[in-house]
């Protein structure tokens, strides 16, 4: 097994398609096709995307209750390339709801907080994680954490992987990511900027702020930093320089669901199956993210679909 994905706060994702969605109004779905249920959480999404690209992975994390069992059963049905290894707890796994309005090109997301996790269950997870690292070349740690789990856990997971020379990809929000970057910097860092544009506790406003933040992440020891800039662009930094990747084709913003996870999966695929070439990894990840936006649901693209997007963006060196 080459890849281990960690989803500490998985979810049952529900996509609901409502044209002309309005708050404070009753919406009736015309058919079952307007709603879709699937296992989710960023690490799980990466496992699903990798399976589609032919790469086996171990999906790890914490599940609980009835919703947790549904997530596990649905995940097992997707692909035998996904091996599961979840710690089961007393609480209930969360549900994430996305209301997609294709007429107005909007997406409204409501993500649950997840269960409360005891220290005993976290310790159990950490022991299983350490064991699973013995079978991995690369670990993807991404998404939020449930209540009761210390914010330093991503730093701890990254440190445990690096001790065993396992490459670490991480996508997370500021609080989790900052501790990890400062204590045990992952190899590939992709800040989750969907909510607030904050990296290393600094608010990002101007283009230069993004470039400086990307460079700072590299200075902490990351090999590659990828920062989303105004949705359609990415700032990509390595030790060699900084680049701006810009999408040149129209973007359907209501189809953005899952694009970040496809991006990470694309980078992992390129690193494992093609070449550990950092800029090329970012380009392949960007292509995967663009490919996801071509379809309505968060369904992951095939290699052919990803390759077909290589001319959908430009790459410009900015530093």
């Amino acid at each position: 097994m080459e890849v281990l994905t960690v989803t500490l706060n998985p979810a049952l994702d529900r996509e609901i398609y409502i044209d002309n969605f309005e708050i404070n109004k009753l919406h009736r779905l015309r058919s079952l096709e307007r709603t879709r249920m699937s296992p989710g959480g960023k690490g799980i999404n990466v496992s699903i995307a990798l399976a589609k690209l032919g790469i086996p992975s171990i999906a790890m994390g914490i599940l609980g209750g009835y919703v947790g069992r549904v997530v596990l059963e649905e995940l097992r049905k997707i692909d035998k390339r996904i091996t599961t290894n979840f710690v089961h707890i007393d609480g209930e796994t969360r549900e994430n709801i996305a209301i997609i309005d294709e007429v107005n090109d909007t997406i409204t997301e409501i993500n649950g907080p997840g269960p409360v996790v005891s220290k005993e269950d976290v310790d159990h997870f950490l022991r299983r994680y350490r064991m699973s690292l013995s079978r991995a070349n690369c670990v993807v740690i991404s998404g939020s954490i449930p209540i009761g789990v210390d914010e330093g856990i991503y730093a701890q997971l990254s440190g445990m992987a690096k001790e065993r020379n396992v490459c670490v990809f991480m996508e997370a929000t500021n609080a989790l990511l900052t501790k990890a970057i400062k204590q045990n910097c992952p190899d590939v860092v992709k800040p989750d900027l969907r909510g607030e544009q904050v990296v290393l506790d600094q608010k990002l406003e101007e283009f230069e702020d993004y470039v400086e933040a990307a460079e700072e992440i590299i200075n902490y020891g990351a090999k590659l930093a990828v920062l989303s800039y105004k949705i359609k662009n990415d700032i990509v930094a390595t030790k060699e320089g900084v680049w701006l990747i810009s999408m040149t084709v129209p973007l359907e913003e209501s189809h953005l669901l899952g694009s970040g996870d496809a991006y990470v999966a694309g980078m992992v695929y390129h690193a494992l199956r093609k070449k550990w070439d950092l800029l090329e990894m970012a380009k392949f990840g960007f292509s995967a993210a663009v490919a996801v936006t071509r379809r309505k649901s968060k369904e992951m693209p095939s290699i052919e679909d990803i390759e077909a997007e290589r001319n959908s963006f430009t790459v410009e060196r900015v530093k």
Partner: protein, 145 residues
């Protein structure tokens, strides 16, 4: 047919913790592994029950012969903090990932088991196969695990 799930416990985990894990996962047994994920045993609810009831009880056909159910509770309390290595089935009965389905069926029937750990050539856990998976496989005409 097999389930690609590597949920497992370690030899030094307590009986109480394992009962909690079996209950939360809604499974009747779970593989026991070492730090390299090699399967070293298998612990089932049956193993724990056997450890908690008087040895002669397993020979009887009816629970009505038990003089005092408090004895069961007392015995469970006595072993709850003990490591499962003392009660697990070892060496474990396993099936290799490249074995045919019929091998798994044979082992499950012959040893009266509900679940078998599936291992790779290095004895590392890669999944499990349950009775229902074998039945489904046979029904669907599958020959491989």
């Amino acid at each position: 047919m097999m389930v690609y799930d590597i949920s497992a416990v370690f030899e030094d985990e307590t009986v109480e913790r394992v009962i909690h894990i079996l209950s939360k996962q809604s499974v009747s047994g779970i593989p026991v592994v070492d730090d390299n994920m090699k399967v070293v045993g298998f612990i089932s609810e049956n193993d724990i029950i056997k450890a908690a009831v008087p040895s002669y009880f397993m020979l009887l056909q009816s629970a009505s012969f038990i003089p005092d159910t408090n004895q069961l509770i007392k015995n469970l309390s006595r072993i709850k903090d003990k490591p499962i290595s003392e009660f697990m089935s070892k060496p474990p009965i396993t099936v290799n990932e490249n074995d045919p389905l019929i091998t798994a069926a044979d082992l499950l029937i012959r040893h009266g088991l509900k679940t078998l750990p599936v291992i790779d050539k290095n004895s590392r856990l890669v999944g499990i196969i349950r009775r229902i998976d074998v039945l489904r496989g046979v029904f669907e005409g599958k020959e491989e695990l």
